[in-house]
């Protein structure tokens, strides 16, 4: 009686994958002529291979992630080289602020405010996971501050701080997802509802959206999926 162990199983896979020498391939082919079970086995794995290949997903996000990384290392280096030329840079920045449309400018500003707070270790002025306590604290400092929503779905509510955006004070609510800090700036605004629109500013992901009379800007080093998930959480909790 033949047993399955006598069949060249490892070699069959190597044959299928084109990994055998000419001699090895010939030996397997000789066995296949005589053995219908191995032929069937080979056929099964050939269809499995076709099936897996057809299920291969595209992953174009990977290319934007790569660009994000190379941009980051580039700008880090540039900053380092430019230490001597701060004055020159500052005038370039003023020019840029005058030329860049408001939305793009906001993307940059939001990222700068976030980066400054994170780098200085002052992300949180009030540490709390209680939305009511955060609202009381914020309302005393920023007129018309928007009530934050509690954490959930992997997002922890960490606290709040007050920033200045385009010359006016703004309430910043801080969440954390895994090891990423997410800042959410929110204010009452008459603009129509808008789905989250992510964009990149250096290594930061910025995402703006509006819902039910509130405009939101979110910024983090987390990816766009995370920011969209937080937007969904806030939307759900506020309706």
């Amino acid at each position: 009686m033949e047993t399955w162990d006598e069949h060249p199983r490892g070699a069959l896979h190597a044959y299928l994958d084109g990994e055998l020498s000419l001699e090895g391939s010939l030996a397997v082919e000789e066995h296949l002529v005589a053995c219908s079970r191995c032929r069937q086995e080979l056929e099964t794995y050939q269809s499995l291979g076709r099936l897996l290949k057809s299920a291969r997903t595209t992953a174009t996000e990977a290319e934007s992630a790569l660009e994000r990384v190379t941009r980051t290392v580039r700008s880090r280096r540039r900053r380092f080289l430019a230490i001597g030329g701060v004055a020159g840079l500052a005038s370039v920045a003023i020019l840029a602020v005058m030329l860049v449309p408001r939305t793009d400018r906001m993307v940059g500003q939001v990222a700068v405010v976030h980066a400054r707070a994170v780098n200085a270790g002052r992300s949180i002025e009030l540490a709390s996971d209680d939305p009511a306590a955060i609202e009381r604290w914020l309302s005393a400092r920023v007129p018309g501050a928007v009530t934050p929503v509690a954490g959930g779905d992997g997002f922890a509510l960490r606290g709040a701080r007050v920033d200045s955006l385009e010359g006016r004070p703004v309430a910043t609510v801080v969440y954390q997802v895994r090891n990423h800090i997410v800042d959410v700036f929110a204010w009452h605004s008459p603009e129509a509802d808008m789905e989250p629109r992510p964009s990149m500013a250096g290594r930061w992901t910025v995402c703006r959206w509006s819902h039910a009379g509130v405009a939101y800007w979110m910024v983090s080093d987390a990816g766009t999926e995370d920011l969209k998930a937080l937007a969904a959480l806030i939307k759900e909790r506020r309706t």
Binding site: H13, T44, A59, L66
Partner: protein, 173 residues
């Protein structure tokens, strides 16, 4: 100049999608996969000037795998260390005359079935069938001998067929 950044982009771009697909297969969660990918690119950038191997793809994918390990260590969701021995101790896969049944499966079914496999099996299947890595590349990515690649692949394929069309051992012939 930004020569390093530009060179790195050229070096890594052809393999970027493969890197994300492997990250997805390993961590099974889009947000974590994106984190793993970004971290892998940063590490690869720091070291790519010293790369002297034959396959940039294998080198990059090995980094993706290592970064995933650190994530597992942090979150404590990795599989037990003796998994390989336990998989090896299972009876040899039986022949599975199911070619026709496989043809009716769609992509979602395939991904769901892959997600149910142990990581050791998932990764060899993704590397071989989706990325078309050679055994040599796989051996270098996974840090095991080519013989191990062959036996893992053989078990992984048999197990995936069982996941997709049911266990032939539980059927009457």
């Amino acid at each position: 100049m930004d020569e390093d950044a530009r060179d790195f982009e050229q070096f890594a771009r052809p393999h970027a999608q493969a890197a994300l697909r492997l990250a997805r297969a390993l961590v099974r969660n889009e947000a974590d996969a994106q984190d793993v990918l970004q971290d892998s690119f940063l590490r690869a950038f720091r070291h790519f000037r010293g790369f002297s191997g034959e396959s940039p793809r294998a080198w990059l994918l090995a980094i993706v795998r290592n970064v995933s390990f650190t994530l597992w260590r942090r979150t404590g969701v990795d599989e037990p260390a003796d998994l390989e021995q336990r998989l090896e101790a299972e009876p040899d896969p039986l022949p599975s005359p199911e070619a026709r049944l496989l043809e009716s499966c769609d992509a979602d079914t395939v991904h769901a079935a892959l997600d149910r496999l142990p990581r050791l099996h998932r990764e060899v299947l993704v590397l071989r069938e989706m990325e078309e890595c050679s055994y040599r590349e796989m051996a270098s990515i996974l840090g095991v001998p080519i013989g191990t690649i062959m036996s893992r692949l053989s078990r992984a394929r048999a197990q995936l067929v069982r996941e997709l069309v049911g266990d032939p051992r539980s059927r009457k012939n």
